[in-house]
């Protein structure tokens, strides 16, 4: 069984002026292939750090990331990444952005052209192939980013607030798109978000992290992602467990934020 193993990860940043920040402490997680896990937590609790370690951009101070039985040593095409914004290549057309991965890994044009065309159709950008990315709206740009990541057919997709910069309506549409893509492709996905609603709707599993040091606080297994596939997400929100879980998580994060503020005041 192939899976992503986050094995006892700790991360310490040494500060230039001496001292250090314990960004993560003893994080253990196991994701089965095809699972979608959303990650919530107050600002600064180490979500991005964790994702960067999984992506291979950062080496953890302790612990290992193991994917399908081998240890992660650096960034690789098997782990795709979708950023909040500004990670597209402005000097390339939409099509060239999407085909970037296959081209870099040396696939032939004949090989990747059908995939790229298909992905552009899936994200609804078949009519914008030749456009420059800076001519597209924010929502369209994120769809390009999704397609670009999928074009490489990665085993794991890592998303750091991919919909954070979008307006509420576009965001809702994109949430449906992410769910559909997840079900169609069967990818393992880790999705960081600041929106509790988004985490509930998209996360089959939902991880709440606590700060100082960054650690796993609580994990949920949720039915909403499966309900949401192919359905209107607004209907899902009417589910009775939805609002109770939402309130519970909001309360939890709220208390963490309160605590951080209190500590900041004490030390001041």
């Amino acid at each position: 069984m192939s899976e992503l193993l986050i094995d006892n990860i700790s991360m310490r940043f040494d500060l230039p002026g001496g001292g250090h920040v314990q960004a993560l402490k003893d994080v253990n997680l196991k994701l089965k292939t095809g699972e979608l896990m959303s990650v919530l937590g107050p600002s600064g609790c180490g979500k991005t750090t964790l994702l960067n370690i999984v992506a291979g951009f950062l080496a953890p101070s302790e612990g290992d990331i193991v994917l399908n039985g081998h240890k992660v040593e650096g960034p690789d095409a098997e782990r795709g990444m979708v950023f909040q914004q500004g990670a597209l290549f402005e000097w390339m057309s939409v099509r060239d952005n999407v085909s970037f991965g296959p081209r870099m890994t040396g696939k032939s044009r004949a090989d990747y052209t059908p995939t790229v065309d298909h992905l552009l159709e899936v994200v609804g950008l078949q009519d914008f192939k030749e456009k420059a990315v800076y001519e597209l709206s924010g929502g369209m740009q994120q769809r390009v980013a999704l397609a670009r990541c999928l074009a490489n057919d990665p085993d794991v997709i890592l998303m750091d607030e991919p919909l954070g910069a979008l307006d509420a309506l576009t965001r809702e549409k994109m949430q449906s798109l992410v769910l559909d893509l997840w079900k169609d492709t069967g990818k393992t996905i880790i999705l960081i978000t600041h929106s509790v609603e988004e985490a509930l709707l998209l996360g089959e599993r939902l991880l709440v992290m606590a700060p100082r040091p960054g650690r796993v606080h609580k994990e949920y297994n949720l039915p909403f992602a499966d309900l949401g596939v192919g359905n209107d997400l607004r209907e899902v929100k009417k589910h009775e467990d939805y609002s109770t879980t939402r309130e519970e998580i909001l309360e939890m994060i709220w208390n963490m934020e309160e605590e951080i503020m209190g500590r900041a005041e004490e030390s001041a």
Partner: protein, 436 residues
């Protein structure tokens, strides 16, 4: 005096044409949309759009002022001109025994640029002859002389008199008005007076127009422009002077870019190169290229080689810094994205970092071209055999103001074209600049 008048007229034209134009073309002056709310928005240039009518009127105003303050033949309203033609005044000579006699001085005022004025056959004009006058009676005889406009002449009236100055003949009145040495009297034609030693002087009225030496009329400059092309100046046509200057700039700039961009990339990519080049770049950057000219002349002489080295140095630091900040400015998320899409280090360099740095490099190139153009002209002013700067500095030695003005206009137009051309090239090659 003329300067103040010019400034006053220019300011009056600015406000006057605004009042007139805003009455005549009401439509053009209405502010529409939200921009009318932010006409006083500091730092937001987009709120203020140039009124092109004002630009046209502005250029026409400068042209008109040029005509109005010179002896131009273009039929536009002009300032009162200098006196030209014949005029006369009288002087009264008194002998030691008290006898007096009056005689007339006739002065013919001619164009100061008569030798430079060509007729239809291309022959230069000649200064006119002295007007013929009757000697008249009495011991003081009538005199006549010629003088160029804007000139000043001391007239030795005793040369034909029966009693010389040495023998006690003194000028005691001019135009019947008693005068002492050093006095001056205004007349319609100019100013008459006595020197401190008592000799009559005359300077014709200058009006408010400038002599050709100070500012030639527009048509003279235009004519000079064509003659500089056909006859050339000091062995080279205007086109050749221009070509030499441009060629130096292009070669110097290209060498600077060719060397500077790779160094800038290296500085942006490796710690060793950053540390190695930092002191040199930071030291050389604030030195104005002009300050290097003396050293360059000692090392390379005044020929092409020295010019190219100077322009190379002028462009080099700018291009290094542009390329360096272009590389440093790449968003880390782009590099991360490329890595997780399977790109290798080399691919990230060529496919992400280089294209991402192009807008910065273009900005640097535009600045560098501008600096090079300014530097080449200055370098030619100091020492050169040919070039636009050389042309105007030689012309200044011979007081050929029209050549200087042609040179300045060509320098300005080419500088402007370089700027516009670089902007066009920029929006063509890096269309995403400033849009992400």
């Amino acid at each position: 005096m003329i300067g103040l008048l010019l400034i006053f007229l220019y300011a009056a034209a600015f406000f006057g044409t605004f009042v007139i134009a805003s009455r005549l073309f009401k439509k053009l002056f209405e502010s529409r949309g939200f921009n009318k709310l932010k006409t006083v928005t500091f730092g937001d240039e987009s709120a203020v759009i140039a009124n092109r009518l004002a630009s046209v009127v502005s250029v026409l105003t400068v042209f008109w002022l040029w005509v109005a303050f010179t002896n131009s033949s273009i039929p536009l309203p002009k300032m009162p001109g200098p006196f030209i033609g014949d005029t006369s005044f009288t002087y009264t000579a008194t002998l030691e025994d008290g006898t007096t006699d009056e005689a007339t001085i006739t002065v013919r005022v001619f164009r100061e640029d008569i030798q430079l004025t060509l007729d239809d056959d291309g022959n230069a004009g000649v200064a006119p002859d002295v007007p013929e006058v009757e000697p008249g009676d009495g011991f003081a005889k009538n005199d006549s002389t010629t003088i160029a406009r804007y000139g000043f002449k001391v007239i030795n009236v005793w040369t034909n008199d029966e009693v010389s100055k040495k023998d006690g003949s003194l000028v005691t009145a001019l135009n019947g008005i008693p005068v002492e040495p050093g006095d001056k009297i205004r007349t319609d034609a100019g100013e008459i007076g006595l020197t401190d030693k008592g000799t009559p002087t005359f300077s014709p009225a200058t009006g408010f127009r400038m002599a050709r030496l100070y500012l030639p009329a527009p048509e003279i400059v235009v004519e000079r422009f064509f003659r500089l092309n056909s006859e050339g100046y000091q062995g080279y046509s205007l086109f050749q002077h221009t070509r030499y200057s441009l060629q130096r700039v292009l070669i110097g700039f290209l060498l600077g870019a060719l060397v500077g961009i790779p160094i800038g990339y290296a500085m942006g990519l490796t710690n060793w190169s950053r540390g190695w080049f930092d002191p040199i770049v930071e030291f050389m950057r604030p030195i104005p290229p002009l300050a290097l000219i003396p050293l360059i002349i000692i090392w390379f002489g005044i020929d092409e080689e020295g010019k190219v080295v100077l322009l190379f140095l002028a462009a080099l630091w700018i291009m290094i810094i542009a390329a360096r900040s272009g590389v440093s400015g790449v968003a880390i998320s782009k590099v991360h994205a490329a890595y997780s899409l399977g790109a290798s280090k080399t691919q990230i360099l060529t496919k992400v970092i280089v294209p991402n740095s192009l807008p910065e490099i273009f900005t640097g190139a535009r600045v560098a071209m501008g600096v090079c153009w300014g530097t080449v002209v200055a370098a030619e002013l100091v020492a050169a055999n040919v070039g636009l700067g050389k042309m105007i500095v030689s012309a200044s030695k011979f007081q050929q103001t029209d050549v200087i003005i042609v040179g300045i206009i060509v320098i300005g137009v080419i500088g402007f074209l370089i700027e516009v051309g670089m902007r066009k090239l920029e929006s063509w090659l890096v269309p995403w600049k400033g849009r992400v």
